[in-house]
C-alpha cells in the first residue's frame, strides 16, 4: 500500500480513464512526471471538474487520447499551451463539458446509479457534441425538459493529498471531491505531502475528512508532490517555475526541451 512512484504508475494501464482534480485541489504532478517517464499511452484524462498543468504535461508528452473536462488552464499563467496545440492539431479527442456536469457524473459513479440529472446545458453547443448526454422529461413534472448525464466510474483516481498514514488512510481536508473521486474510481492512487504515524481514521478530528484505506490502492510519500502547483494551506504555487513552463511549452521544440531536463527526465 505504502509504495514508490514507479509502483504507483505501474498500476495505471495504457488506455485507462484517469480522473484528476483541478489545479487548486491537489494534482499529483510528481506522479504525472513518472507517468510520462513510464511512457503511458492513450489515456482518457477526466478533469474533476477541470485540469491544468497535469493534463497539459500528459498531452504534450503524447500520453493522452481523450480529454474530458470543463476546462484546461494554467490559471494566472495563461492558457494550457500543449492542450491548445493538440486541439488545433486534432491530436486529442475532446469531451468538453461543464463543471457541475462532471462533478455530478462522478457523484453518480460514487452512488452506483447509472445517470443523474443536471440543470442548464439545454441550448448549449456543448450538449450537441455530447451524444452521451440526454434530454429527458422530468418525470416529476410535465413539460420540464432536463439533461441527464451518465455516471463516471474512472479506472483510476489520481491525486496529491496533504496527509496519509501507514495504514493507507488519506486525509483530504476541504477538497471533498477527492473523496468522491476515490469512491467512484475502480482504483485510487495517491501521493501525500506527509505521512502520519497515527491512524487518521481513528483520530476524531482527522477521521471525518479521511478516505479509508480500503478505497486506496497506492500511497506514496512525495513531499511537494504538486510542484510547481501549490497545495492549499501548505505551499504556494512556484510562480517562476510555472512561468518558465508556460513559456517553454508554447512551442513543440520548447516542450521537448522541457521534457529533457530535470525533473521531467529524471528526479
Amino acid at each position: 500500500m505504502i509504495t514508490e512512484l514507479v509502483d504507483l504508475v505501474a498500476q495505471i494501464p495504457h488506455g485507462a480513464s484517469v480522473a484528476v482534480p483541478a489545479n487548486r485541489s491537489g494534482p499529483a504532478i510528481a506522479a504525472t512526471r513518472a507517468m510520462i517517464r513510464a511512457g503511458l499511452r492513450d489515456l482518457h484524462v477526466i478533469g474533476v471538474p477541470t485540469s491544468g498543468l497535469q493534463a497539459d504535461l500528459l498531452i504534450g508528452a503524447g500520453c493522452v487520447a481523450v480529454v474530458e473536462s470543463a476546462g484546461v488552464t494554467l490559471d494566472e499563467f495563461g492558457q494550457a499551451p500543449r492542450f491548445v496545440a493538440a486541439v488545433k492539431a486534432g491530436d486529442i479527442a475532446l469531451k468538453d463539458s461543464t463543471c457541475p456536469a462532471l462533478i455530478s457524473a462522478v457523484q453518480a459513479g460514487e452512488k452506483g446509479i447509472p445517470f443523474i440529472p443536471i440543470r442548464g446545458l439545454i441550448g448549449s453547443d456543448l450538449l450537441r457534441h455530447r451524444p452521451d448526454y440526454r434530454v429527458v422529461d422530468n418525470p416529476m413534472e410535465a413539460g420540464d425538459p432536463i439533461v441527464v448525464v451518465p455516471a463516471i466510474r474512472p479506472d483510476v483516481a489520481l491525486f496529491h493529498a496533504p496527509l496519509g498514514d501507514r495504514n493507507g488512510n488519506v486525509w483530504i481536508g476541504k477538497s471533498r471531491e477527492l473523496m468522491t473521486m476515490a469512491h467512484a474510481a475502480r482504483k485510487t492512487l495517491v501521493t501525500v505531502e506527509a505521512l502520519s504515524e497515527d491512524d487518521l481514521l481513528a483520530d476524531p478530528k482527522h477521521g471525518p475528512a479521511t478516505i479509508p484505506a480500503h478505497y486506496i490502492d497506492a500511497v506514496v510519500h512525495v513531499e511537494n508532490g504538486c510542484w510547481p502547483i501549490g497545495l492549499s494551506g501548505h505551499r504556494l504555487t512556484d510562480a517562476s517555475a510555472m512561468t518558465r513552463y508556460a513559456h517553454m511549452a508554447k512551442t513543440d521544440a520548447g516542450f521537448e526541451e522541457y521534457l529533457s531536463l530535470a525533473p521531467m527526465a529524471a528526479e
Partner: protein, 247 residues
C-alpha cells in the same frame, strides 16, 4: 476626486449588485470581486464568496458546493465572461472555428453552461470592447443568453466593458445601452461593437465613483481585496497583503 479605470469599473459593478443576498466570484476576477466586497461593505450585499480563496469563502463540501448552492437559488449574482459575447447574450468560452476543429481554442466552459441558467443576476464582464469580442453571433454557444420552455431562473443581467454598460432585456433577448463611461462617445461604442443594441434617446454617463466609495476601496475594502487578489491590490492601490492573510 481622481480615480483609476479599475476603480470606475469596480464602482459601476458594485452598483449593479445592490440588493443581492449572496454574490459569488471567481478567484481570477479581481474587479468583480472588489465590486462585491465594496457593495458588501456598503451594506448592499449580504455575503461574498470568492471561490478557491483561502479566507473569503465558507466552502466545506468541495467542488460541488458552489453549483449545488446555485441550483438551490442560494447564489444571487455571479460573473461570467466570454472570448466572444453576441447580441443575444450568448457566450463562447470554447474557441473560434468549427468545433472540434478550432482555429483558436480557449480554456473551456467551466461552470458557465449551468450557472448562466441558474443564477438570477449574471453580470457579463469583458474589459476588451472590440468587434473581436462583442460579435454578431458567437462561433460556439457555450451558454445561450435566453431559453424557452426550460427551467431557467437565471441569466444575463448586464454587460460591463471598458467603454460602457449594457443592460440585458430578457423580454427582447438583447442588450440595451445603459451608460457610457466618462469620456466615451456613442460612436466609439458603435464602432467597436459587432452586435446591434438598443439605446435610449438620451444616453447616460456612467456615474463617477463617489469619494466615499473610493475611500473604502483604498482603505478597509482594499485590505480585504488583497486577501484573494494580492497582486491586483498591490498594483492598483499599493496595498500589500497583511501578514495574517498570508497563504
Amino acid at each position: 476626486m481622481e480615480y483609476s479605470r479599475e476603480e470606475l469599473l469596480i464602482c459601476t459593478i458594485a452598483h449593479m449588485l445592490d440588493g443581492v443576498d449572496h454574490v459569488a466570484v471567481g478567484v481570477a476576477s479581481p474587479i468583480p470581486g472588489a465590486a462585491a466586497m465594496l457593495q458588501h461593505a456598503l451594506g448592499g450585499v449580504g455575503r461574498v464568496t470568492v471561490l478557491n480563496s483561502r479566507h473569503a469563502q465558507a466552502i466545506t463540501d468541495g467542488a460541488t458546493e458552489l453549483f449545488d448552492m446555485a441550483a438551490q437559488g442560494r447564489i444571487g449574482a455571479f460573473f461570467l465572461s466570454g472570448g466572444q459575447i453576441d447580441g443575444q447574450g450568448n457566450i463562447n468560452l470554447i474557441g473560434i472555428g468549427d468545433y472540434p476543429d478550432l482555429d483558436v481554442r480557449w480554456s473551456g466552459s467551466f461552470g458557465s453552461a449551468m450557472l448562466y441558467y441558474l443564477v438570477p443576476r449574471v453580470i457579463l464582464f469583458r474589459e476588451e470592447h472590440t468587434r473581436r469580442t462583442l460579435v454578431e453571433a458567437v462561433d460556439f454557444i457555450t451558454a445561450p443568453g435566453t431559453s424557452d420552455g426550460i427551467h431557467r431562473p437565471g441569466g444575463p443581467y448586464g454587460l460591463v466593458t471598458n467603454l460602457c454598460v449594457f443592460d440585458f432585456d430578457k423580454a427582447v433577448g438583447g442588450f440595451r445601452l445603459a451608460s457610457l463611461h466618462p469620456g466615451v462617445t456613442l460612436e466609439e461604442v458603435h464602432d467597436n461593437t459587432g452586435f446591434v443594441f438598443a439605446q435610449p434617446e438620451v444616453v447616460r454617463t456612467t456615474p463617477h465613483p463617489r469619494p466615499c466609495d473610493l475611500e473604502q476601496l483604498r482603505g478597509a475594502v482594499g485590505l480585504r481585496v488583497a486577501d484573494p487578489y494580492p497582486s491586483f491590490a498591490g498594483r492598483v492601490w499599493g496595498i500589500s497583503q497583511p501578514k495574517e492573510f498570508c497563504f
